[in-house]
Subunit: 341 residues, 3 copies
């Protein structure tokens, strides 16, 4: 069971109900009325628990699991331990997510008195907002229904946050407008001045940053990630984007919808990503590039040119993924041969 210090599991559920939620079909001969009390990983699950297999690398753990039920792709059924109930689906990870949400639903945050001195009397705050202790809300900021503002976070003047958002602790938001169902993790910084200087030999002149950060719906932004506001145009994060921890997004960057940006990626100023672009961990992109829809950038790549729709790239400087892998292999062969002589 998830640690009850932190998580409250909701009642037992019948297998048939869970299969329905998961959009999965039950294996033959299983009892649809059997009660399950929790979700659990393969290695720690017991007879009352439901688990899942999504990665071939864990087939061995699957074949030995003591779980009472498991969500799997039908093609792995032969590896199942005897007696286990199987929930078949082509998308076991999605199915698991839905069932786990059912066992551990989001708990409505408790509204907390908003008459304390850290909250501007001019802020426009819906009645159902939860503002945790130590959070500061600036003048004319607007906060929508059911949104939670975490402890010691700072919401700058004029910032607008939509409905059903979760701003975690120690976050800083300024010069930004957020959609609905946005999650901002602890320590993220959104809307500060970008790195804009007119460089000189004697000194560097600061350029006023007059834009904002515009964030769509259903966006998630990781812990200690930084997103600078635009210089005049805005910095834009499209709906459904998921951004991991410690990512840097510079001024005027535009992300389309549904992009996946893994930890420690850096995107330089004015670069535009299409929809559903994926960037692996620690990749870096220089400024003023255009990255097409569905492009995939391997971890640690250094992207210095535009990327076409659907193109996959790797290496630093980045090139088509096939070419990069070929180069890596060719160098290895070339050097190992030279060893012989």
């Amino acid at each position: 069971m998830a640690d009850p210090r932190f998580f409250n599991v909701s009642g037992s559920f019948k297998l048939a109900q869970l299969a329905l939620i998961a959009e999965a079909s039950l294996s033959e001969g299983t009892d649809p009325g059997k009660l399950f009390t929790d979700v659990q990983p393969l290695t720690s699950a017991g007879p009352d628990h439901i688990s899942f297999l999504d990665n071939k690398g864990y087939l061995q753990e699957f074949s030995k699991t003591r779980a009472g039920a498991c969500i799997i792709d039908p093609s792995f059924a032969a590896n199942a331990p005897p007696g286990i109930a199987l929930l078949f689906t082509k998308k076991p990870y999605h199915a698991y997510a839905r069932i786990a949400h059912h066992f551990y639903p989001n708990v409505a945050a408790k509204p907390i008195s908003r008459s304390h001195p850290l909250i501007s009397t001019n802020a426009i705050i819906a009645n159902t907002v939860c503002i945790e202790p130590g959070a500061v809300v600036g003048e004319k900021a607007e906060i929508g229904n059911n949104t939670r503002i975490g402890a010691n976070s700072t919401i700058g003047p004029g910032v607008r946050i939509g409905d059903d958002c979760k701003i975690d602790g120690n976050v800083t938001l300024q010069y930004c407008l957020l959609g609905n169902r946005v999650i901002i993790h602890a320590g993220a910084r959104i809307g500060q001045d970008g790195f804009g200087f007119a460089l000189g030999k004697e000194s560097h002149l600061k350029v006023p940053q007059l834009g904002r950060v515009i964030i769509g719906d259903n966006v998630e932004i990781g812990a200690n990630t930084t997103i600078d506001r635009g210089t005049g145009p805005d910095t834009i994060i499209g709906s459904g984007c998921k951004i991991d921890n410690l990512v840097q997004i510079a001024h005027n960057v535009c992300l389309g919808n549904g992009c996946i940006i893994v930890s420690q990626v850096g995107i330089s100023g004015s670069t535009e990503l299409g929809n559903y672009v994926m960037a692996g961990g620690q990749a870096g992109l220089t400024g003023h590039l255009k990255i097409g829809d569905g492009a995939q950038i391997a971890a640690q790549s250094g992207v210095m040119r535009n990327i076409r729709t659907g193109e996959k790239v790797g290496g630093s400087p980045a090139k088509p993924l096939r070419n990069w892998l070929k180069e890596v292999a060719a160098i290895e062969r070339f050097v190992s041969k030279r060893k012989v002589y």
Copy 2:
């Protein structure tokens, strides 16, 4: 216009006055008395707006702009759309910065009551300081005139901050002395213990970190950047340095004046940079190096040896930039030839 939620534009200005501020000369036949109401990017500017062109990549946007005036290098005059007023200068970006500051001057922060329990009664705070809600100021800290301390920031005991500084929200300062006109962005951490351990097989022994961080005048430090204090010697950031977001600067590092350190760079302990060194995004430098004045380090470089004055390097391990680019090209040719056979 910049979003009035966040920015207050100051009155209209005559073109002649703006040209003077910009140190630019007006194109022939323009009306020096024409009023302009705002700065705007090329693509969104209208007849009452002044814009700028600083990057050849945007020549097409320039040729189509509806801006009433534009700051450009004279060599691009032929691309101007009909009827536009041109402000000629060899440094359009500097000129734009000056005009943008004129339309959007820094607003003096309002001093806020300093008699609340989060501020030590022993702190020495100038009368014109603005301390935002939730900020904590430790014993004997000193804060100069017109400095602003952002919400939920933590200023440790004994820290000294000069005049006209802006410390943004959720910052932590400890064991450090700051000059005048220093800007520290949200979430930066300055002065914590460096990563100093005497390594052992059984355990690692912590080494006391007895130095400080000394920061000159006109320095800007990015969001969530970390600068560790010295071990005994100090960590030093020279005047005029501009450091981007998520940069790591280890103990005893010395930066000369006017260095430009782009996002996610890491500089290891005791490495010394001269004046006006530039380090591109995600570059890494090992410890105990000496980097000469004006050296330029390409993005994602891995610097493992000293760099001479004015030298340009790239690659990992880093080498002279020309050699690195030659290697990249040679490998590509070598591998693509092998495809043929």
Copy 3:
């Protein structure tokens, strides 16, 4: 002397006593009763100060030092300036650390009133705890003896922190259990949701993260580092691990004991490190890997496969260190030859 704004040096000590603490032997002819007032770096030390030499690169500074005494490896005795007292040991850096701790002992934090509205009345807080201003402590959190919670930090509900821990300012802890003598530097984020999504063409489905972060004893975690909680299994940081600034540790990662993780490293989900693994700055590890005890990963490496016990790797993609260095040299020779033609 270390800046008295920040550090209090404790009394003078006799050389014999310091040699004892350092587990070092005195050079012949030195006065064991001579008093020393402070530790100092080689370049700034005077006759009343004790210094150390641990890195050959500083032999010249050693030969010119005005320090009254110096801790060194006996093999460097010939380079000593005349009249200096020498403390011989095979581990000068360890010896220095012990002596520096003796001059600058940890000061017990002053307990601060805990009856303010930011601390839950249900939290279980030992009497000797120091909670600085602005810190928020959630329901049923437990804090052990002599632990200090820094200003503006946020301790989530149910979090357990052991004895003698130091949580610095502006930290966020949630869904985590900490051992004893743990140091968490400013701005670290521990226990937030991991980056867990079931990816889709239309949208990405969030997967509940039901595990915790479990941190052993004597762990140190750097400024603005992020450690995500497990998905169901826990994220585990073994005792004695030292983690630098701006490191990313994803969900379900396990670190054995005594690992050294340098700044800006990223470790992807479910990767397991053995004991005493070392990862250099900016290295990246993909997910689901197994890294053997004592493995060493060079800075900026990109690790995409399992690493055996004691293996040293470098490069991206990472390979045995020797092979990588050989490749680097071979490419350089190959390209420089081609210059000739």
